[in-house]
C-alpha cells in the first residue's frame, strides 16, 4: 500500500509527540496579561511619582526666578513706605518683606511714583497694603504648596531626629552624672575611711597644746567715736568730747590653745589668752579744771588735776591725745571643722565664743613731750563675751609638732556700761604657734 511520505513522517511523529494540555495555553496567556496590567500600574505609579518630583522641582525653580524681581520690587516698595510714613517709621519696613508680596508689588510697580508728594505715596502704600491683604491666596502660594508640604515633612523628620538625639544625649549625660556622683561618693567614703584609719592610728595623739602669739587690731562698727566722753550735756557741750573720733591700734595677743580632736573632722579647742585692745582719741586739749562736774567716763587717778576739752580754752592750750588700753584675759570655747586636707595639711573653719575678764584698764594722756597715766575708763564692765569666727590652718611638721595659724574675727558684747553693743568693739587678729600633740 503506497503512502505519502510526508504523511508517514507526520503520523509517526504525532504518535510520540507530547504536547502541553490545550487548556494550559489560555491560562498562561491570562496570567501574562495580569502581569502586564500590574506592570502598567507600576510603570504609571513610577511615572506619576517622577512627574510629582519634576513638578516640585519646577515650582522651586519658578519661585527662585520670581524671588529676584521680588527683592527689587520690595526695595522699591520699602522706599515708597519710607516716603509715605516718614523716616521715623523705618522699622516698619520689615513688615513688607514677605514672599507673598511678589504679585501685588508687580501689579503696582508701574504706579510707584517715588518722587511724588507725600500724600500720593501714602495712598499708594494704602493700596499696596490692601492688595497684599486681599491676595493672600495667590497662585504662587498654590504652586508652592507641595514644595512647602514637602519641606515641612523633611523639617519635621529632621526635628524629630534631632529631638531623639537630644533625648539620647540627655539620657547619656544623666547616666554619666549619676555614675560620677556615685564615683564621687565612693571616693569620699574611701577618703573618709582612710581618714578614720589615720585618726584611729593617731588616737594616742588627740590632744594638741599650742602656745600662740599674735597681733590684732580693734575698731567699732558704729561711727568709731570715743567712749571716754559722755553723753552731751547742755551746759558745757564742748567739754565732753563724746563725739571725738577714736581709732583702734594694733595690739598683741598671746596665750595657748588646747585642742582636742573629737573625730577625724571635728575638734574642740579652748585656752587662755591675754588680749589687749587699744584705742586712741585725738584732737583734745588740756582744759581748765572744772571741780563741780565730772562729765566724762574717765576715773582720774588721785592727784591728777588736768581735764580735757575738744576746744582750747586759752590760746596756746597744749594738744593732747588719750590712749586707752583694755586688757582681757580670754578663754575661748571653739569648734573646729576640717573642710579639706590630708595627713600633712588641714584647713579648718572655726566658730565659737569667748569669756573675757577685764584684767587691765588704763588711760594715758600723751602730749608732744610726755606720756602719763591719768586714770581708767569708768564705763567698762569687768566681764564680757565675744563671738568668734575664723579660718585655721594646720601644717604637720612631724608626728607631734603642728604649725598652726589662724585668722579670727571677734565681735565683743557687753563691753560697756550705758552703751549698747553697737559701741562694743570688734577685733581682727592673726596668731601663729607651734603645737605639740600628745
Amino acid at each position: 500500500m503506497s503512502k505519502d511520505i510526508d504523511k508517514l513522517f507526520k503520523d509517526k511523529f504525532k504518535e510520540s509527540k507530547t504536547t502541553a494540555p490545550t487548556e494550559a495555553w489560555p491560562v498562561i496567556q491570562a496570567k501574562l496579561k495580569m502581569r502586564r496590567i500590574n506592570r502598567l500600574i507600576y510603570t504609571f505609579s513610577v511615572l506619576g511619582f517622577l512627574g510629582l518630583i519634576s513638578f516640585m522641582l519646577f515650582s522651586t525653580q519658578t519661585e527662585k526666578t520670581l524671588s529676584k524681581p521680588l527683592q527689587k520690587n520690595t526695595s522699591l516698595k520699602n522706599e515708597v513706605i519710607l516716603k509715605g510714613k516718614g523716616v521715623n517709621d523705618v522699622n516698619d519696613v520689615n513688615d513688607v518683606n514677605d514672599v507673598n508680596d511678589v504679585n501685588d508689588v508687580n501689579v503696582n510697580k508701574d504706579k510707584l511714583p517715588v518722587s511724588k508728594p507725600q500724600e500720593d505715596s501714602k495712598k499708594l502704600y494704602a493700596t499696596i497694603t490692601t492688595e497684599k491683604e486681599s491676595k493672600n491666596n495667590m497662585p504662587l502660594e498654590k504652586t508652592s504648596f507641595f514644595k512647602e508640604k514637602f519641606k515641612d515633612t523633611v523639617i519635621e523628620k529632621q526635628v524629630k531626629r534631632i529631638d531623639s538625639l537630644v533625648n539620647s544625649l540627655d539620657h547619656l549625660v544623666d547616666h554619666l552624672k549619676d555614675d560620677l556622683k556615685k564615683e564621687k561618693k565612693k571616693l569620699i567614703k574611701k577618703k573618709d575611711s582612710i581618714d578614720v584609719v589615720n585618726f584611729n592610728k593617731e588616737k594616742r595623739r588627740r590632744w594638741n597644746v599650742i602656745p600662740v602669739f599674735g597681733i590684732s587690731n580693734s575698731g567699732r562698727l558704729s561711727d568709731n567715736v570715743t567712749t571716754l566722753g559722755t553723753t552731751r550735756a547742755v551746759t558745757y557741750p564742748d567739754k565732753y568730747f563724746d563725739d571725738n573720733k577714736s581709732s583702734g591700734l594694733i595690739a598683741s595677743t598671746y596665750g595657748f590653745n588646747v585642742v582636742f580632736r573629737a573625730t577625724n573632722r571635728i575638734s574642740i579647742q579652748t585656752g587662755i589668752f591675754s588680749k589687749e585692745l587699744r584705742f586712741l582719741t585725738e584732737g583734745l586739749f588740756l582744759s581748765e579744771f572744772i571741780p563741780d562736774v565730772n562729765p566724762t567716763n574717765i576715773i582720774y587717778n588721785p592727784g591728777v588735776e588736768v581735764r580735757f576739752s575738744n576746744t582750747p580754752d586759752i590760746v596756746g592750750s597744749e594738744s593732747v591725745s588719750l590712749s586707752q588700753s583694755i586688757l582681757y584675759m580670754e578663754m575661748p570655747f571653739e569648734f573646729k571643722y576640717r573642710m579639706f586636707g590630708d595627713s600633712k595639711f588641714n584647713t579648718n573653719v572655726v566658730g565659737g565664743f569667748s569669756f573675757l575678764y577685764l584684767n587691765k584698764n588704763e588711760i594715758r594722756a600723751k602730749t608732744n613731750t610726755s606720756s602719763r597715766s591719768i586714770g581708767k575708763a569708768g564705763n567698762l564692765l569687768t566681764t564680757s563675751t565675744s563671738l568668734n569666727i575664723g579660718l585655721d590652718i594646720e601644717y604637720h611638721l612631724s608626728k607631734r609638732l603642728v604649725l598652726n595659724s589662724a585668722v579670727m574675727y571677734k565681735k565683743h558684747y557687753n563691753t560697756y556700761k550705758d552703751y549698747n553693743n553697737e559701741y562694743s568693739p570688734y577685733n581682727v587678729g592673726m596668731h601663729v604657734g607651734i603645737g605639740y600633740k600628745f
Binding site: M1, S2, K3, D4, I5, D6, L8, F9, K10, D11, K12, F13, E15, S16, A20, W25, I28, Q29, L32, K33, R36
Partner: protein, 129 residues
C-alpha cells in the same frame, strides 16, 4: 530559556502557543546556522518535480527512531526544510521568509529531501527482505 527570557517581548497579539513555537524555531535556526554554513540547491521552477512522493510501506513496519535516523542522514539544507515543512507545518512562503530563500528553492530542497528519504526507506526495505 529564551522564551522565559524574552517573555516581555510577547505583544499579546495572537496566541502565546504560536509565539512560543516561533521563538523555538528561530532559536533552533540560529543555532543551526552557527554550526554549519548551509547552501541551498537552487532549481528552476520548471524542473521542480511532483510535490507528492509516495512509498509502498506499512506504517507499522517502520519505527520512529529509524525515521529520525533517516532525517539526520539528510544533508543539512534538506533536513532543515523537511522539518519545517512537514513536521512544523510551515508553508514554503514562510520558510522562504525565515531562511531568506526563494519559494522555489524551498520547494526544490524539500523535493530532494523527499527523494532521498524515499531512496533510504526503499533500501531498508530491500535489506529487510
Amino acid at each position: 530559556m529564551v522564551i522565559f527570557k524574552d517573555i516581555k517581548k510577547f505583544k499579546h497579539k495572537g496566541s502565546f502557543e504560536g509565539w512560543a513555537k516561533r521563538v523555538t524555531v528561530n532559536v533552533a535556526l540560529q543555532k543551526f546556522r552557527k554550526k554549519s554554513s548551509i547552501r541551498f540547491d537552487d532549481l528552476e521552477e520548471s524542473k521542480i518535480p511532483e510535490e507528492k512522493v509516495f512509498i509502498d510501506i506499512e506504517e507499522k513496519d517502520i519505527s520512529l527512531n529509524f525515521l529520525l535516523s533517516l532525517i539526520h542522514k539528510l544533508p543539512p539544507q534538506y533536513q532543515l526544510i523537511f522539518n519545517l515543512y512537514v513536521l512544523d507545518e510551515y508553508s514554503h512562503k514562510e520558510i522562504s521568509e525565515i531562511l531568506d530563500i526563494s519559494i522555489g528553492t524551498s520547494k526544490s530542497n524539500l523535493s530532494r529531501a523527499r527523494q532521498l528519504l524515499k531512496k533510504e526507506i526503499n533500501t531498508m526495505k530491500k535489506l529487510q527482505l
